[in-house]
């Protein structure tokens, strides 16, 4: 008997009520919780970048390149939990070779590919091209070769070419905004379209996913901007930080309203599943939903950031509040994904019982692998920041893109 099956025996004792015999094994586990969390960060970071280019919010200009690089680092790591989770990862290519057009999951593969190739990579390349060419011309040895390859051996630095670059970036960003919406909205749709599961099946699911993604993305950029700036021994632009916190605040209000609407709607309609779902919340999801997602992840950050708006708070304290709030938001959004993915599988489709999920520490789908996958994007980001510096640094004549 394999380890996964052996782990199921103790779960039998934790079943409350009746579940279909096949439901004892929870199929979409921690790895599948991580996946929407990561793609959410991608969408959120990109939306923030688009605020600079499309909506001309000059205050958050310093985060533009950082957001794009963050989006890229998380996007390249995003397929990893999925591939690790597959029963047959070596057959994973089938999703691109023989996709079923009725399957949201299959179509998502193309949305992901489109977003990676035609939005994110293209935008970053056009934005950085001038610097890449300059660094290729100015560098030596391996570094020179690297930048030559990255710039695709391009060397046109004429005003006409630069103007084209800028126009390309603008166009791609405009296409990129609905693409980012599609990227994470689609993940919400993958869950929201499953009529068999009343916890998931909801028209609001893609919308809620998207807005919680934007919240988590902005919060992440808040954290990263502070960390990267301080690590590079630069000064934090407080206007930028305040604007980020403002956007975070307003997006959280929208997200809270949407989640509240979903809740009120369910309770008011009171469909057949309401009984088992209330049992689910009170018996299995109380801590993760009420305490962490709502209280710690939503209400406390909302109140503290509102506090910085109402009261005159010194810079130091504001930075601390923003930092802690952003961390709580990350925790809250991660737990939101947990509540959706795991929560949806903790109750039986017979509406008569609850089961349990036991995280393993080791193993391919265990806690250690999951933590490694969560840390990996930051490592990728560190590498990207070295190769593609977002701001002017000594020795790297970087032309900061102007928001025009």
């Amino acid at each position: 008997m394999d380890q996964v099956t052996a782990n199921l025996y103790p779960l039998l004792k934790q079943v409350v009520g009746y579940i279909y015999p096949n439901e004892i094994e929870l199929h979409w586990n921690l790895l599948i919780v991580i996946y929407p969390y990561i793609t959410g960060l991608v969408a959120g970071a990109f939306i923030l970048a688009s605020l600079v280019k499309v909506f001309k919010v000059r205050e958050v200009q310093p985060t533009y390149r950082l957001s794009l690089l963050t989006a890229l680092s998380f996007l390249v790591v995003a397929p990893l939990p999925l591939i690790v989770h597959l029963g047959h990862p070596e057959r994973g290519l089938e999703m691109f070779l023989t996709p079923s057009v009725t399957s949201a999951m299959a179509m998502f593969g193309f949305v992901y590919a489109w977003y990676l190739m035609f939005v994110l990579l293209l935008e970053i390349w056009f934005d950085y091209r001038q610097d890449l060419v300059t660094m290729a011309q100015g560098g030596k040895g391996l570094g020179r070769v690297l930048y030559q390859v990255l710039s695709l051996y391009s060397h046109d630095l004429s005003p006409r070419a630069i103007a084209f670059d800028k126009k390309a970036v603008n166009t791609i960003t405009i296409i990129g905004i609905p693409s980012a919406f599609l990227l994470h909205g689609y993940v919400g749709f993958i869950f929201g379209s499953v009529k068999a599961n009343p916890w998931w099946s909801s028209v609001l699911m893609p919308i809620v996913f998207l807005f919680s993604a934007i919240v988590s993305g902005i919060a992440l950029m808040l954290l990263l901007y502070m960390i990267v700036t301080l690590m590079g021994k630069r000064e934090i632009d407080m206007t930028c930080l305040d604007k980020l916190a403002s956007f975070l605040f307003y997006m959280m209000i929208v997200d809270f309203a949407l989640e509240g609407l979903d809740f009120v709607h369910r309770v008011y309609q009171s469909e057949e599943s309401i009984q088992i779902l209330s049992q689910l919340i009170s018996q299995r999801l109380f801590v993760s939903l009420v305490v962490i997602q709502l209280l710690l992840g939503m209400l406390i950050p909302l109140c503290t950031i509102a506090g910085t708006k109402i009261f005159r708070v010194p810079d130091e304290l504001r930075r601390l509040i923003y930092f802690i709030s952003a961390l709580l938001v990350q925790l809250g959004i991660f737990t939101t994904r947990w509540n959706v993915v795991i929560g949806g599988q903790l109750f039986s489709k017979s509406f008569r019982g609850l089961t349990a999920y036991k995280i393993t520490i080791g193993g391919l789908e265990g806690l250690l692998v999951s933590l490694a996958i969560l840390v990996l994007p930051f490592i990728v980001l560190a590498v990207l920041l070295k190769v593609l510096p977002p701001w002017e640094e000594a020795g790297h004549p970087v032309h900061p893109t102007n928001a025009d």
């Binding site: 390349w125 695709l152 391009s154 046109d156």
Partner: protein, 258 residues
């Protein structure tokens, strides 16, 4: 000359595209090419023939080994047992229901033998008393019915007639018997209300017992002027319960339940 004229036109268009876009096209073409090659190499040839799936998968599913031969197969060699079974209570029970999968036995009858279940626990899988079992299905309470003794001592599995005639109705209607025994109707024999032909024991579905059809039947004991025991509750048959039949409100096997 054609080449010269053509190249001019193509060259004009080509160099009209910005340099960076021209360089971008290279990785694009490479990726596209890789996808086309992958499609040709890796998609199974029979995919999409009948629908969006690999056609040979249907055949793979259809060619799995068969383990249960089916009751027809047993008759070929064990005709005598089949004939015995055909007239008894187990006529609807497939041979392999008790003897397990026997397709291998039909392939190699001498060396591969199906199992012969001889233990009590095997028969009790079907015949142990469970209140959830439908009424009319023969059941025993194993603790009191010849405990420890193997069932086949008294019952021949291929023609499981009970060794002696059944005393009452509780062998097949145990749940009803256990219900009625707690009610005031406990003293009533089943046949008082249910006119039962004697063949019912042998062919239950063919010779079904009758059920009372009118209010007057219950009135024989429960009417105001009925000639029955003094403890029996009386009702005014004309007014009590309107036009409803008695058993549309009162469960005859537990009439006093409130």
């Amino acid at each position: 000359m054609l080449k010269h004229a053509g190249t001019n036109f193509i060259t004009r268009i080509w160099y009209g595209i910005p340099e960076q876009v021209r360089h971008l096209m290279v990785p694009c073409v490479v990726i596209l090419g890789a996808l086309v090659i992958a499609h040709h190499l890796f998609v199974p040839r029979d995919f999409g023939l009948y629908g969006h799936y690999r056609a040979s998968s249907v055949l793979e599913n259809a060619e799995r080994p068969i383990k249960y031969a089916g009751s027809q197969a047993c008759a070929d060699c064990h005709g005598d047992i089949v004939t015995t079974k055909m007239t008894g209570y187990h006529k609807g029970v497939a041979c392999e229901s008790c003897h397990g999968p026997a397709a291998a036995h039909t392939e190699d009858p001498e060396n591969v033998k199906p199992s012969i279940p001889r233990t009590r626990s095997h028969c009790l899988l079907c015949h142990e008393y469970l209140p959830s079992r439908p009424t009319g299905f023969p059941q025993v309470v194993s603790e009191s019915h010849n405990p420890v003794k193997p069932c086949i001592t008294c019952h021949q599995p291929h023609d499981p007639k009970p060794p002696h005639a059944l005393k009452g109705c509780e062998a097949c209607h145990t749940n009803i018997q256990r219900t009625i025994v707690l009610s005031h109707h406990a003293s009533l024999e089943c046949t008082v209300c249910h006119d039962t032909p004697k063949e019912h024991n042998v062919s239950p579905r063919e010779y079904a017992p009758k059920k009372p059809q009118s209010r007057e039947f219950c009135g024989k004991c429960h009417a105001q002027g009925a000639e029955s025991s003094k403890e029996i509750p009386r009702v005014n048959m004309a007014s009590h319960g309107g036009k409803y039949l008695c058993w549309e409100c009162h469960y005859p096997h537990m009439p006093e339940a409130h």
